[in-house]
């Protein structure tokens, strides 16, 4: 009997080892796995429709940026995806589990940072994060490891035993992110994660989000074009409750590109003189010494302009490439839609 048990254990162990050997293959399949899919979401508040027929899909290992103005419906969409708000119509599947039918199982796969971080200010950072981890269904013995890891990842070690109410806004935001990722969810949903942070903190957090996107999938909402460019693989642009454009972040950037620059010249020449340089399409005088120059995308007159400026003593003090604003991208996309 005992030997039989031993053999069985051995076989089981062997199978375990075998499945571990197979892990890399299954992992590479998993990169294409769809973690979140929302179909035909519709939602209105009272009689005011907010979200119209929104369909969204997210794959593992992907960072999706939800871009739009304030009031475009980004936060409402994210609230629906996390189960904080029920859609009027439509379905949401989290890792293949229906959020409406099995909310408690599905929600265990989500980490969510709302617009304002949900912090119990009277608790210490450590206690709060432990509570968040256990609330998301983590086992007691796995929690302390997860805590050390997340404290280190979010740079919270120096403040681990401080009360949350005494922390600065930047640290509070980091605690908010930490509570969303401590239980290592498959889907991380961040609502404007970098709002109110200083530039160094923004850089750190973007780096962290990029890292998170390698293992799970991330959705983040923002109204900053640059955030999407630096962090996201894919972008969905939202306007008035509709997704008006969705593409890879790289391809979206071509919408963001404007061929042109602004220059400042200490001794500016006549406008006609600038316009006559080959490649320049139009020149607009912004002030006495500043000009906005637009050119064809494939013909950059920058070097010609530089050498001319040196030759004629215009004294170039500044040359800045133009960046499109979200507004420009919207205009381009919507005008392209119409045509």
């Amino acid at each position: 009997m005992a030997t039989r048990l031993l053999i069985r254990a051995y076989i089981l162990g062997y199978i375990d080892g075998y499945s571990q050997l197979q892990m890399p293959a299954t992992l590479s399949n998993a990169t294409q796995q769809i973690t979140l899919s929302a179909r035909n979401l519709t939602r209105s508040f009272g009689k005011r429709p907010v979200i119209h027929d929104l369909t969204l899909e997210l794959k593992r290992g992907e960072v999706l940026g939800l871009l739009g103005h304030n009031g475009a419906g980004k936060s409402t969409t994210l609230q629906m995806l996390t189960g904080c708000l029920l859609p009027d119509r439509g379905e949401i599947d989290i890792c293949g589990i229906s959020l409406q039918k099995n909310p408690t199982i599905a929600k265990a796969h989500i980490g969510y940072l709302p617009e304002s971080p949900p912090l119990y200010r009277e608790l210490s950072v450590e206690k709060y994060l432990l509570f968040a981890a256990r609330l998301r269904g983590m086992k007691q013995d796995a929690v302390s490891d997860a805590l050390t890891q997340v404290l280190q990842r979010c740079g919270l070690e120096p403040v681990r035993s401080k009360m949350i109410s005494t922390l600065s806004k930047g640290y509070q935001q980091r605690v908010g992110i930490a509570q969303a990722i401590i239980h290592k969810p498959d889907i991380i949903i961040l609502d404007e994660p970098t709002v109110g942070l200083d530039p160094a903190q923004i850089r750190d957090i973007r780096h962290l989000i990029r890292e998170l996107g390698n293992t799970g999938s991330v959705i983040l909402s923002t109204h900053l074009l640059s955030e999407v460019e630096s962090v996201c693989d894919r972008v969905e642009i939202m306007q008035n409750g509709r997704l008006i454009y969705g593409d890879s972040s790289d391809r979206m950037q071509h919408y963001g590109e404007v061929s042109g620059f602004t220059i400042s010249l200490r001794h500016p020449p006549a406008l006609i003189e600038l316009e006559s340089i080959s490649g320049i399409e139009s020149v607009e005088q912004l002030s006495e010494t500043e000009f906005r120059i637009l050119h064809a995308p494939d013909n950059n007159p920058g070097s010609a302009l530089l050498s001319l400026a040196a030759e004629k003593g215009w004294q170039l003090t500044q040359l800045t490439p133009l960046h499109a604003t979200l507004e420009d991208v919207f205009v381009r996309i919507t005008s392209e839609d119409k045509s």
């Binding site: 508040f45 904080c84 029920l86 199982i105 989500i110 709302p114 912090l119 009277e122 608790l123 509570q179």
Partner: protein
């Protein structure tokens, strides 16, 4: 999960200075009242001893003490219940609970259990004070048990009502005033009712506590408290669910 949420509730309560202040003040009032009743009892005891069937120390000191506690709790419980959901909504921490893999019923039960546990700690000193008397005299354990049971059930019903009112609003102070108004209203309807068999008595938790207070364990009173508590807990869970529908 219920325990986790209850423990979080307790931790937050004990990390606030005002909680400790209320705890201290209330113990002081309880002790003051206890000593005053005891002094009065010692004064009239010689006369009582002449009676054929004299009332004991439990019914002359214990029962009034519990009666006072029931009235004090009516005013005090709304101060604690007001924060339960209204403050979470105001601080926008409700999103953490709503997006967690926990059902609405468990959230409600967790909050209810957390605060009830705290209040039980608070009223646990009442029987302790009375049991110090057993050093010098014999206590009526049945009467004490009935009073304790009644007070626990009464507190539970207060908490359930306060929890529901707290789930209706974003402002804790409105929740406090709301539940205080309802509890006082029920109490006034009870003591102001014209006849002894008026149906108004039946709605008041304090009326149902009177039987417990006089040592009478009536299953209909117990059933009232259980139904009252359950009714408001269910309403609260319903309200949390509606939160997801109406935003």
């Amino acid at each position: 999960m219920i325990r986790l949420i209850a423990m979080r509730e307790l931790k937050s309560l004990f990390s606030m200075p005002s909680t400790w202040f209320v705890l201290a003040a209330l113990q002081f009032i309880f002790a003051w009242f206890f000593l005053a009743r005891l002094e009065a009892f010692l004064e009239i005891q010689p006369q009582l001893a002449l009676l054929a069937n004299p009332p004991g120390v439990t019914s002359t000191v214990g029962a009034p003490l519990f009666n006072t506690a029931s009235l004090l709790l009516m005013m005090l419980v709304p101060m604690f219940t007001m924060r339960l959901i209204a403050e979470e909504r105001r601080n926008q921490t409700l999103a953490l609970l709503l997006s967690s893999p926990v059902s609405d019923t468990r959230i409600v039960l967790g909050k209810f259990a957390g605060l009830l546990l705290f209040l039980l700690l608070l009223i646990a000193t009442l029987p302790l004070m009375l049991y110090t008397l057993s050093l010098g005299t014999q206590l009526d354990h049945g009467l004490l048990l009935a009073n304790c049971t009644g007070l626990v059930l009464l507190t539970a019903s207060y908490v359930a009502l306060g929890l529901y009112v707290s789930s209706l609003t974003t402002q804790p102070i409105i929740a406090a005033i709301g539940s205080l108004a309802i509890l006082t209203g029920l109490w006034l309807a009870d003591i102001g009712a014209p006849s002894a068999d008026s149906p108004w008595h039946q709605f008041s938790p304090l009326y149902h506590f009177q039987n417990f207070n006089s040592g009478l364990l009536d299953s209909s009173d117990a059933a009232f408290f259980l139904l009252f508590t359950l009714f408001f807990l269910l309403l609260t869970a319903r309200r949390l669910h509606n939160n997801r529908i109406y935003g």
